[in-house]
Subunit: 444 residues, 2 copies
Amino acid sequence: MNPCSSILLTDLYQLTMMQAYVEQGMMDTAVFEFFVRRLPAQRGFLMAAGLEQVLDFLEQLRVSQAELEWLEQTGRFSQSCLDYLETLRFSGDVHAMREGTVFFPNEPILRVRAPLPQAQLVETRIMNLLNFQTLIASKAARSVLVAGGKPLIDFGLRRAHGAEAGLLAARASYLAGFAGTATVLAGMEYDIPLYGTMAHSFVQAHKDEATAFEHLALSQPENAVLLIDTYDTEAAAHKVVALARSLRQQDIMVKGVRLDSGDLADHARKVRRILDEGGLPQARILASGNLDEYQLQRLIGSEAPIDSFAVGTAMTTSADAPSLDCAYKLQEYAGRPCRKRSEGKATWPGSKQVYRQYRHDGRCDHDLVTTVEASGTGDPLLHPVMTGGRRLVPAQKLTELRQRAATELALLPDSLRSLEGGQAYEVRISQPLHDLTLAVDQSV
Amino acid sequence: MNPCSSILLTDLYQLTMMQAYVEQGMMDTAVFEFFVRRLPAQRGFLMAAGLEQVLDFLEQLRVSQAELEWLEQTGRFSQSCLDYLETLRFSGDVHAMREGTVFFPNEPILRVRAPLPQAQLVETRIMNLLNFQTLIASKAARSVLVAGGKPLIDFGLRRAHGAEAGLLAARASYLAGFAGTATVLAGMEYDIPLYGTMAHSFVQAHKDEATAFEHLALSQPENAVLLIDTYDTEAAAHKVVALARSLRQQDIMVKGVRLDSGDLADHARKVRRILDEGGLPQARILASGNLDEYQLQRLIGSEAPIDSFAVGTAMTTSADAPSLDCAYKLQEYAGRPCRKRSEGKATWPGSKQVYRQYRHDGRCDHDLVTTVEASGTGDPLLHPVMTGGRRLVPAQKLTELRQRAATELALLPDSLRSLEGGQAYEVRISQPLHDLTLAVDQSV
């Protein structure tokens, strides 16, 4: 069984509520929107990601025979509920921000319009997919902004939270501007460029380090990146120089070296000198080891001669903010706008659109959140992507989404480009939306 | 394709190194161990979890035709490497701590003994599985320790990092002592008890809250837990009382209510009084909303009349420590012990065993890490679980593992039972292991 596409990847209460809806005949159209309530402390903006996986999930939504039988034998569900589930397909419409779009709190990035039981059932997986990829794209974008064009590679699979997290982190970080990933399956699934070097164990399995380097270079005559910190980094760099000399006659080049521990800037300077003096000016230096955007900023600021960086755990778990304060909330049922007023968790009612206004220099100036009926100036950010349960356009290529993300980052105001963050971006709530909120509150 | 069982759920360098090993005929037996280098700041102990999924992965390890063809068309791999992969099965031995075992830094919890290319290839997924479930079980155990026997329920799927993270967090938290989960698929896959209530949207979809409550109660005559904070918590509690009165004639009971926002202790006291005075002393109060072990400790310390707690995001992402500083390191190749000496990342060499010593009152006193050849007193914690690629015993029932975890928590010294943490637990490194380390360093 592939757990990633199961209809039972949901909370029990979705089925419980479905049963009540079916029994009460509450099949009218509902509108739900997914949005983020607040930015994590160390984020000035977010980057939308995960839409393609949401659309895949909605298109493929159906219960399997085994799932249906299991549900039945739990004794929890009425026959009418099981009958409804058996033939259930997603038949709704979806509007969404394109992946790679920069967005801010209180802005819906996805709107589902479907019969109430359908729109409710899919809440859990939609949140699960959008929360995670948006989280990772937003974190990865910070590294991209400070890397100054130096290639970044995702090395995070081993400490990602499970298989899907590893794959989707590779996807989301590539979308945000990483150059590639070490995760082989992400290369196969999403056509993401693959990068890899060698492990300390490869050195240890050999009786001496120089032989290990030679074996890797012979096996990867164009792509050998040698890990040089297993015992003594600078001593190993000298071994690389000697090896490169002896391999030159066989037309084998050492592509580069990897540093994975200690003071990376200091080692990089010493190793660069050894490589240059040894006739290997073309050999690249890759750095790894508990890197995040702050370490990257420090290393790049120190002008350490590092050519590319591998970023793992901190990015793939979004370590400083491992979740978003996000929600998927009912905004309208049977044509009646509604909202939640729980303490600290109140929402804006109705179906909404977001408009972005730009400054004269082309940078983003502010956004306006308003009702879909109201007019707005600027670019509308939510677009129709699914109608009647079918995608309106085929899945977009990841390289195209990545290009859009790069454009979005280029249009950020300077205050949002630094890690420390400056003035918060302005998101205005329109008068029509204020009016609607008042009307909804008075009607309850 | 089910990504969770793909052989390509690995880092590119594992395949690169495999190719070099195959070409060099380096097929001798390797020993790798998985361990944690340091505890996260807010943890006094860890709880081993994820072994069953590791054993599943190893037993099922094989390349599919589609994967093999894709690897071939990348042009990255030699024919000898592809031929090796085509028939590859895992044929090694595994020793491990049982799931639910409490452990500490520098203690191997899993040891793989297999031909080098096999033992290397499986590194990434083994780390991915053990890091995550151990992380979650260890975090969940903290909530269990402060909950004082009150039931805890996993509500974390929506903000878990993908599908597998949601499922395995449900498993790991149940193992650690949670009462159950809201994740339906985890109920089906792992036979974990399911719990659920209703969402705010269910209230909002109805024109008034009282009707929503009635519809849920009619649909769940024995299991209705009503969410009462959508508009005004205490007003809603009065509606529950009135509803229960009118439903009594139909033999429908309101099982309980859920609080999800505001000052949970204050609301719980007010709601408890309303329910008691309204003739519903048996109705239970469930609290949810950004709970973690610190909130639980505070709420339980305040003697708020809350009967059970739903814990979501903080637990399912291990928010205060979203990864472990863990490693899977080569300890021995072709009978020769080895170790890594990288700055700050040095390891103890050779195949190791961990012995636990207990005090007179039965509580844990200290552990000893030593070589497998050396003798030790106390309970050995690593046991054979797989030989020649096959499990030695069938997968253990999760309820049995859960019982072991409960016993382990009961045996913790008091200093490890508080959230604040006390004296660190003592892990001794034996003289034979010190001697071996010295011998290995002198031989390089």
